[in-house]
C-alpha cells in the first residue's frame, strides 16, 4: 500500500489528530516484533532525543542599554568573563568559561542560574567614547530584565561519538568522566538508538531551518555545527562509526526549562552544559523507516585510548551500543565495565514530551531550508611556528 509521505501531509494528519507518532525506542520495539515494513506502513513521525554535556554551547545576551550608555569592553557575569567584542551591550557567555575565582563554576552555571530565574551579577567596564560615555557599570540582571537572551550552541548533538578508555597507570579526569587506570572502565556519550542524528544517518530530514525541541523550548538548526564531518566510515544503515555530523542550534533562552539545561563541572576538566534536545523525524519513505529501526545492537562506535595525548588517539576496539548498554565490553580478553554519560532517563522524557506535542499538533514539522553540507574531510591545524614576515 502506497502511503502519502510528505511533510505537509504529515502535518495535516497531525492537525486532524490522525498522525501516528512514536519515540525511537518504541519504534525499535515495534520493528523487533513486526519488522521495518510495519513501521513504514503505520508510523508517521518518530521522536528522538539526547541529553548530554555539550561544551560548545553558550548564551548570547543583549542586556538592553544603560543610561548613560556604555560599550562593554570587559564584562564578567558572576565573575565569569563574558565575550563582548560585539555591539555595545551584546555579550556571549560560553559554557566552559571558568569563573576567575573558582574552577567549579563557569559559564554553564551562569546560564543555568539565569534559566532557574536567579539574578546574576554583571560587572563591566567600557572605553569612554563620544558614542558611549560611560566607563563602568555594575548591576544585577536576570532573564526577565535583559532585552534578549538566546542559547546559541555552535556544536551540539554529535551524530555518534567515540567511547573512552585509559591504558595508563593513573586515573584520568576527562570530559568523558573519570577513566580508571589499565582499561578499568569505558565511558560513552550518546543515546544510541534514541539519538537524533543517528536516526537519520543521511541527514535527509534534518538540515538548516529544521525545528528542534531545545531545552524545553522551540529552537532551530541554524547551520552545520563546528567539526561537522560526513566522511566517517559507515556501518549499519549508513550510520557513522564514530563522531560524524554536528549542528549549530539556536533558541530563546527565556523559554527554556531548567531540567533540560543543567550546568556540570567535570573534575580536572572544567565546566560544561548538559543540553536536552529532541527532534521529530518524519517517516517519509522506506529507507528512512529502516534507519529509524536501527537498534543499539546495530549502531556502533569506536573506543579510543584517552591516555595517549595525541590528536589521533588509538582505537582500542569497535563495539555496539547494545554491548555498551549491557554494562560490559571485552578489552584485550578482559571484561571491562561500561558507563554512559548521556542521561537516558531525561532523554526518554524529552522524546515522550515531544511525541505528545507532535500528537497535539503544537510542534509542526518543516522541511529544511537547505541541507547540511557534505564534509568528507576535517582539516587539522597546521602549525607554522612563530610568525614572521
Amino acid at each position: 500500500m502506497a502511503r502519502i509521505r510528505t511533510i505537509p501531509e504529515i502535518n495535516e494528519r497531525m492537525n486532524s489528530g490522525q498522525a501516528v507518532v512514536m519515540t525511537a525506542d518504541e519504534v525499535v520495539e515495534l520493528a523487533r516484533e513486526r519488522g521495518a515494513d510495519e513501521v513504514y506502513r503505520t508510523v508517521d513521525v518518530v521522536t528522538t532525543a539526547t541529553f548530554g554535556a555539550m561544551c560548545s554551547s553558550g548564551a548570547l545576551i543583549n542586556t538592553g542599554h544603560a543610561d548613560p550608555p556604555i560599550k562593554f569592553s570587559q564584562a564578567h557575569v558572576n565573575d565569569v568573563p563574558a565575550y563582548c567584542g560585539l555591539a555595545a551591550v551584546d555579550l556571549y557567555i560560553g559554557a566552559t568559561e571558568p569563573a576567575t575565582n573558582r574552577a567549579d563554576y563557569g559559564g554553564a552555571h551562569v546560564i543555568a542560574d539565569l534559566v532557574a530565574g536567579r539574578q546574576v551579577h554583571l560587572r563591566a567596564t567600557g572605553a569612554r567614547t563620544d558614542c558611549y560615555p560611560r566607563s563602568e557599570l555594575e548591576t544585577a540582571i536576570s532573564l526577565d530584565t535583559v532585552n534578549q537572551a538566546v542559547l546559541l550552541n555552535p556544536r551540539n548533538i554529535y551524530q555518534n561519538y567515540c567511547a573512552a578508555t585509559n591504558s595508563s597507570d593513573r586515573l584520568l579526569h576527562t570530559y568523558m568522566g573519570t577513566l580508571l587506570p589499565r582499561h578499568g572502565n569505558v565511558t560513552y556519550a550518546t543515546t544510541g538508538q534514541l539519538s537524533p542524528l543517528l536516526n537519520d544517518p543521511g541527514l535527509r530530514t534534518i538540515g538548516i531551518g529544521s525545528p528542534v525541541y531545545l531545552a524545553g523550548a522551540r529552537g532551530y538548526v541554524a547551520w552545520e555545527g563546528t567539526q561537522h564531518y560526513t566522511g566517517r566510515p559507515a556501518g549499519a544503515g549508513g550510520a557513522p562509526i564514530g563522531p560524524g555530523a554536528t549542528v549549530t542550534l539556536v533558541g530563546d533562552l527565556k523559554q527554556m526549562r531548567t531540567e533540560y539545561l543543567r550546568a556540570a563541572s567535570f573534575y580536572g576538566y572544567g565546566t560544561s552544559l548538559f543540553v536536552g534536545v529532541g527532534i521529530p523525524i518524519p517517516v517519509l519513505d522506506r529507507e528512512l523507516a529502516e534507519s529509524l529501526c536501527l537498534s543499539d545492537d546495530d549502531l556502533e562506535t569506536i573506543i579510543l585510548d584517552y591516555a595517549v595525548p595525541s590528536r589521533d588517539r588509538p582505537v582500542v576496539a569497535r563495539v555496539s551500543y547494545g554491548q555498551l548498554r549491557r554494562g560490559e565490553v571485552e578489552l584485550g580478553g578482559k571484561k571491562t565495565r561500561t558507563a554512559p554519560l548521556s542521561g537516558r532517563r531525561v532523554s526518554r522524557e524529552i522524546a515522550e514530551e515531544l511525541k505528545q506535542m507532535v500528537l497535539d499538533g503544537v510542534f509542526p514539522l518543516a522541511e529544511p531550508i537547505a541541507p547540511l553540507p557534505d564534509r568528507p574531510s576535517l582539516s587539522a591545524l597546521t602549525e607554522t611556528g612563530a610568525w614572521s614576515q
Binding site: 541529553f51 568522566g177 573519570t178 580508571l180 558507563a339 537516558r344
Partner: protein
C-alpha cells in the same frame, strides 16, 4: 545469619585496643575490613562487613558499646541529592563495588550493601550530587 556493613568510629582511647581480634575471637563474628583510617592517639574509623548469628552479632555490639565505639550503618554514609542528580550514569563507571547502578528506567539507584566508601564517585559526578561522611 545476619550480614551488615557498618562504620566503627573509635575514640582516641581505644585505638590501642585489639577490637577486630576481640570481635572475631571473643564474639565469633566473621569480619571483612573494607576501609580503615587508624591513627594511634587520634580517632580511628573502620568500614567493616560483619556476618554472624543473632547472638554473635549482639555480643559484638555489646563489646563495641563497652569500648565506646560508635556503630553507624553504611546506609547513611553516602547520599545522592536527587534534586541535583541527572541520572547520567557517570558515577556508575567508577563504582567498582557495584553500589551505584542505573535501574531498568535508567534512574540512578544506590545499593548500600555493596558500597565500600571508596569515594571515587564523588569526583566522577559532574553535578556534585554525591556526598559521603566517612
Amino acid at each position: 545469619m545476619i550480614r551488615q556493613r557498618v562504620v566503627l568510629t573509635f575514640p582516641a582511647t581505644t585505638t590501642d585496643e585489639p577490637v577486630t581480634w576481640r570481635l572475631v575471637v571473643e564474639c565469633g563474628l566473621w569480619m571483612n575490613i573494607l576501609r580503615a583510617e587508624v591513627d594511634p592517639g587520634n580517632q580511628g574509623r573502620l568500614l567493616v562487613e560483619l556476618k554472624g548469628s543473632e547472638d554473635q552479632m549482639s555480643a559484638g555490639m555489646k563489646l563495641l558499646q563497652e569500648l565506646a565505639i560508635t556503630v553507624e550503618p553504611l546506609t547513611d554514609k553516602l547520599t545522592v541529592d536527587r534534586d541535583l542528580c541527572l541520572d547520567c550514569g557517570a558515577c556508575t563507571g567508577v563504582c567498582i563495588a557495584g553500589a551505584l547502578a542505573l535501574d531498568d528506567t535508567d534512574r540512578l539507584e544506590f545499593l548500600p550493601e555493596n558500597c565500600i566508601l571508596c569515594q571515587l564517585c564523588l569526583q566522577a559526578c559532574p553535578v556534585q550530587a554525591l556526598a559521603t561522611t566517612f
